[in-house]
Amino acid sequence: MSRFPVDPSVFVGPYPFRDVPHPEPEYLLRVMEREGIAHAWVGHLSAPFERETTRCNAELLALLAPHRALLSPAPAINPDVVGWERELAAAIDAGAPAIRTYPPHWGLTPEHIGLHALALAAGERNCPLVLTVRFEDLRQRDARDTAGDLIPQVVRTLARLAPAVRLIVCAAGKDFIEEVHWGLTPEEQRRVIWDISWIWGPPEDHLAKLFRTLGSERFVFGSAWPLRLVQSPVANLELLPDELTHAPLANPSSHAD
C-alpha cells in the first residue's frame, strides 16, 4: 500500500556540482518502493544548467521509457529559447503530466513575457508548471553555481495570470510559502500547491503551523531525490502533532484538473 500517490520533486541524471549517489531510475524505483511512493514526476537534474533543454529532455524520456508505469517525465522548458512552444508540445505528446521551468537559472524575471506565455500555455493544456526554489542550501553551493534561489515574486506573478494556471512549487520554506500565499486572492491561492521537502519540522514545527494556517490540502509530498534523503519528508509527517498526523495532503494529479 503506497502512502504517497505522486512525488513531483524527483530527478534523474547527474548534478554538475557534486557527486550524487545513484541518480538512476532503477535506484529511484527501489527507494519509492521502500518509502511507499506510488508514482513520480521526474525531471532531468542537468537541465537547469543548460540553456537549451532538448538534449536533456530526450535523455529523460529515454531513461524513463522502461519504467513509464511508475515514472512520468516532467521535461524542462526554457521560454527564453526560440521555439519553446515546440518543446512544450513534444513534452505533452510524450505524456508529461507536468513540465518544469527554472527562472533563476535562465535569468527569467517575474515580468518575462515568455515565462508568462509558458505558464498560460501549460495551464490551458491542464499541465502544471513545476518551479523549484533551490537544489542546495545557499550556504553550501559551489562557487560556479551563481543562479540563486527562485524568488517569491515569480510565483505570485504567475499565479495571478489566469484561472487556468497551475503551479507546483518545490523546495520552498515557510517564509517563502507564507509570503506568496497571503499575497494572493483565495482563488489565486488555489492555483498553487507546495511540496514539503524543505519545510522544517519540530521543534519549530513549521510544517504543523502551515497545515494549521494554509490547510494541509495545499501541500503535496515531495522529496527532492536524488539530492536529498526521501526519509526526511516522511519523518516530518510522522513527527507532526497528533491532531495533524492524518491531515490529508493534495494529490498533484488532481491539481491538473
Binding site: 550524487v20 549517489p21 550556504r139 519540530p202 521543534p203 514545527d205 516530518n236
Partner: protein, 270 residues
C-alpha cells in the same frame, strides 16, 4: 528499542523574547518521544539574540541561559543533560560558569562562534574540560570561505588546530548538515581522532552520511538533531541503506559513542 542520545539539542526560555518558547520546548519533547530519544543533551544559547547576539552572548545572558538549562534538568531528570554555554571572550566568567554548572550536574561545554576555534582564549576552557572530562560541542561552519555576519565562524580545519592542542578532550563538531561544504570538513578532521562530528542540521544531502562514514567511521559519529528533528530522524534511518554500517555501528552512533566520550554515569541507561 535501544537508547537514543541526541548529542546536540537546544531549549528556549522566557528570556529569549519569544512568546512561544514553551511550545517550542514542548515540541522537542513531543517529537523526541516519538523518535525514541532517551536523552536530550542540550544547551541554551544566552537570549538567542534578544538582549545580546546569539553567537556573542553577554555574560548576563550566558548566566540566564545556563540557569534556564539547569532548571530544565531539574524538571526532567534523566531525559535532559546539560552542556554549559560560555563566551570565551570573558574568561573569568566562562570559568566561573563552568564551575557553577558542572557542580550542579552539567556534563559538557558548548562553544558558539564568539571566537575562532583556534584562538588561545579557548585554551583555559579546554583545560577545564580536560580536567573534568567534559566534551566540548563547538559550533562549526562547514568550510568557511568568507565572513558571515553575526558569527566569528570556525570550520573543521580551525577546530582541528584546537583539538590537536588538547588531545585528551573530545570535541563534538556541530551539525555536518548545518550549512556549508561538509566534504571539506570530512577531510579536515579525518586524522584528528578526538573530533567527533554530529549528524545534525537541516541538510539531508544524499551522500553526506556516506562521506562522513568513509572519513571518520561509525565510531566517531554522533546522532543529533539541533534545530530540525525530522532531519535527524531521516539521517538515522538512512544509515543502514548506505551499506556502510553494521547493526553494531548504528548502536554506536545512536548512543554508545556518547557514553564513551562523556564522563562515567553521565547518562541513566537502563
Amino acid at each position: 528499542m535501544s537508547p537514543l542520545i541526541d548529542a546536540h539539542a537546544h531549549f528556549l526560555h522566557a528570556g529569549c523574547g519569544r512568546t512561544d518558547w514553551r511550545d517550542v520546548n514542548a515540541a522537542r519533547f513531543r517529537a523526541g518521544a516519538k523518535m525514541g530519544i532517551t536523552c536530550h543533551v542540550a544547551s541554551v544559547l544566552g537570549s538567542y539574540g534578544f538582549t545580546s547576539p546569539t553567537y556573542f552572548p553577554s555574560p548576563a545572558d550566558v548566566t540566564a541561559g545556563n540557569d534556564a538549562m539547569l532548571a530544565l534538568c531539574a524538571e526532567h531528570g534523566a531525559l535532559v543533560r546539560m552542556m554549559v554555554t560560555v563566551n570565551p571572550n570573558h574568561t573569568g566568567h566562562a570559568l566561573a560558569e563552568l564551575e557553577r554548572c558542572v557542580a550542579q550536574g552539567a556534563i559538557g561545554v558548548k562553544l558558539l562562534a564568539s571566537r575562532r576555534a583556534d584562538d588561545p582564549l579557548l585554551d583555559p576552557i579546554c583545560d577545564f574540560a580536560a580536567k573534568h572530562h567534559l566534551p566540548v560541542l563547538h559550533h562549526i561552519w562547514q568550510h568557511r570561505t568568507r565572513h558571515w555576519h553575526n558569527q566569528e565562524i570556525s570550520d573543521g580545519a580551525d577546530l582541528a588546530v584546537l583539538a590537536r592542542r588538547h588531545p585528551t578532550v573530545h570535541f563534538i563538531l556541530a551539525h555536518i548538515g548545518g550549512g556549508g561544504d561538509y566534504r571539506h570538513t570530512f577531510g579536515a578532521v579525518r586524522d584528528v581522532p578526538n573530533i567527533l562530528p554530529d549528524i545534525s542540521g537541516s541538510g539531508v544531502d544524499r551522500g553526506m552520511l556516506d562521506g562522513a562514514l568513509k572519513a571518520v567511521g561509525a565510531q566517531r559519529l554522533l546522532f543529533a538533531t539541533d534545530l530540525t528533528m525530522e532531519t535527524g530522524l531521516a539521517k538515522l534511518r538512512a544509515l543502514e541503506p548506505t551499506g556502510l554500517v553494521s547493526a553494531s555501528d548504528i548502536e554506536d552512533i545512536r548512543w554508545r559513542n556518547c557514553v564513551r566520550i562523556f564522563r562515567d554515569g553521565a547518562f541513566a541507561l537502563s
